[in-house]
């Protein structure tokens, strides 16, 4: 890890907008382990995780609760530190990547600050990064439009529904145009109809911008619909038991959920989740 980090010159500039370099490795995880020391002995949250993610991919992490999918996402984001193995993000350590604002993170809850208007919630990262006020307003307008929240700039979070709040939080993650989006069950708390709608919007956004997305979910249809690759995980210890390439076209609609190919992939994900132990590819 340290050699790889040293090989890449430190990039001190502000986050760059997406320059699509197909095949560029965004996340490289090798033999990663994370063990929490607790009073009842060690808990193996992650063990022997190997995963490489290329630019432009949409990778879903799916598994039952306790399988470490959120922990893995938090390790990529440098919100947790691995205790073994190596991980690089954009060729550097997760900490360096975080300091370069390499990713936008969308949490399970919208986590909007209740004292800021929707516009000022979206511009929060820009304010931290020192973007001038006029530019901040322009970006807020652009990304709120993108998530269909145009006209809600001056509202406060409590005046919006749960789905709208989550969309605002996605606009916030997009506002500084990171190449990498880390999403932790962003639609988990929403009803089926809103979730379908947001899935389509997210897919369209991903297709248009060429961003890399790592997406945690426990919904099989959601994972199959959104992903180019599905990583099936299993608990105790948290590990990867199957990686499935979906092979759907980049532009797709919810209709593909009725196709045999879709059902086949969904079946394999379900089978992987059911066995939970060493799925033989």
């Amino acid at each position: 890890m340290s050699e790889a980090a040293a090989a890449v010159p430190a990039n001190r500039t502000a986050p760059q907008s997406a320059v699509v370099q197909p095949g560029r490795r965004v996340v490289d995880i090798r033999d990663l382990g994370l063990t929490f020391e607790t009073a009842d002995g060690p808990v193996y949250a992650l063990k022997d995780v190997n995963l490489q993610i290329e630019q432009g991919e949409f990778v879903s992490l799916i598994g039952p609760s306790g399988c470490g999918k959120t922990t893995l996402l938090r390790v990529i984001a440098d919100l947790e530190r691995a205790t073994g193995g190596s991980i690089t993000v954009n060729g550097v350590t997760p900490e360096q990547a975080r300091q370069k604002r390499a990713y936008g993170y969308v949490f399970q809850a919208a986590a909007l600050y209740p004292w800021r208007t929707i516009e000022r919630n979206v511009t929060l990262p820009l304010e931290i990064m020192g973007v001038p006020a006029a530019e901040r307003r322009a970006r807020a307008a652009k990304y709120l439009e993108l998530v269909n929240l145009g006209g809600f700039e001056k509202k406060f979070p409590w005046q919006l529904s749960g789905g709208m709040q989550q969309r605002a939080s996605i606009a916030r993650a997009l506002s500084f145009d990171p190449d990498l989006l880390l999403m932790d069950e962003p639609f988990g708390a929403l009803d089926e109809i809103v979730r379908d709608h947001l899935n389509e919007q997210l897919l369209e956004l991903w297709d248009r911008t060429g961003k890399t997305v790592v997406f945690v979910t426990h919904s099989i249809p959601e994972a199959v619909f959104l992903s180019t690759r599905i990583v099936v995980m299993s608990p105790r210890p948290g590990r990867i038991i199957d990686v499935i390439d979906t092979g759907f076209p980049r532009q797709r609609t919810l209709d593909i959920r009725e196709t045999p190919e879709f059902l086949k992939v969904a079946h394999r994900v379900r089978a992987g989740l059911r066995t939970g132990h060493g799925y033989d590819d």
């Binding site: 440098d78 919100l79 975080r98 986590a111 600050y113 209740p114 004292w115 931290i128 990064m129």
Partner: protein
């Protein structure tokens, strides 16, 4: 069985009574005020009766019960003055006298208020700074907290004269020593409330700041500080009331030239209970007004910060 029926029968009447009382807030407030006044008058008669009986006997006048009751309410130096005596004294000393007069309660209130507000401002600033330090430097909590807490266990009456004497020795007189006593009392609720307030952001809100690589200063300014505002106002309401207490106590050992504390002190020297009570009532009204003022500012700030109406 009979009891159950009674309860059921009575039940419909009870909510309507309460509902009517709760609809306008005037009724409960008025009834409480009347109850307090009634108790006060009863207390006036009972407490002053013996004094007045002695007076009647010294003067050799014959008296009836109604004479006695009437007389207990217009004594010059009663043990407990009647409410209307206090109100009359307040009307005279607040409205009838020139505000610059040494007997005017407006003058004395202003003297006390100015050191209250200065002490409140200093105490609030000091409390906030302490809280910021404690939240950001882990060792500060362990090293400072025992001092902060023990500072509040010392009776203010014991420490106030020393503060006045020590500060007087270095040439600080008048407003500043009193303000420092106010500050000594009022930094405490602010510090305690703000430590809690600055720590009130949840894990998710803190993680969000981390994903942006926000500095500690940015996290303080953009997250911890705005999140602590409700805690700040709760603390300020306590702090401003005890600031007034601090200022009044600070006036007692200063030789009592001016201020509500001075009125209390001269009142007790000369047995002027009416003067003591009117100073006390004025202090209570001032404290109530200041707490209400903080409440108004809180509402205004709440509106700007997107509070629900």
């Amino acid at each position: 069985m009979a009891m159950t029926t009674d309860v059921v029968a009575a039940a419909p009447g009870v909510p309507t009574l309460f509902a009517r009382a709760a609809q306008g807030r005037a009724l409960p407030i008025a009834s409480m005020l009347l109850a307090v006044l009634a108790l006060w008058y009863v207390g006036t008669v009972l407490l002053n009766a013996q004094l007045q009986i002695d007076q009647f006997e010294r003067d050799g006048t014959a008296w009836t019960t109604s004479d006695l009751i009437a007389a207990t309410m217009r004594m010059e130096r009663p043990i407990l003055p009647a409410p209307h005596q206090v109100v009359a004294e307040m009307k005279q000393t607040i409205f009838d006298l020139r505000p610059t007069s040494k007997r005017s309660l407006v003058y004395h209130s202003w003297v006390t208020l100015s050191s209250t507000l200065l002490g409140f401002a200093m105490g609030t600033a000091f409390g906030i700074l302490l809280a910021i330090g404690i939240v950001h430097v882990p060792t500060l909590e362990k090293s400072l907290m025992p001092w902060i807490i023990s500072s509040q266990t010392i009776p203010i009456l014991a420490i106030a004269p020393m503060v006045v004497v020590v500060l007087g020795a270095i040439g600080l007189k008048g407003l500043v020593p009193k303000a420092i006593i106010s500050m000594y009392l009022c930094f405490f609720p602010v510090a305690i409330g703000m430590v809690k307030g600055l720590r009130s952001p949840d894990m998710l809100q803190m993680d969000l700041m981390r994903t942006y690589s926000a500095s500690r200063w940015q996290t303080l300014r953009l997250l911890r500080w705005p999140a602590s505002v409700p805690f700040l106002f709760a603390s300020l309401k306590v702090a401003i009331a005890i600031s007034l207490v601090g200022a009044i106590v600070g006036e007692l050992p200063t030789g009592a030239q001016a201020g509500l504390g001075a009125r209390l002190l001269t009142g007790s020297y000369y047995g002027q209970t009416v003067q003591i009570w009117s100073a006390l009532m004025t202090a209570a009204i001032l404290a109530g007004a200041m707490v209400a003022g903080v409440g108004l500012i809180e509402k205004a700030v709440g509106r700007v910060m997107g509070g629900r109406p």
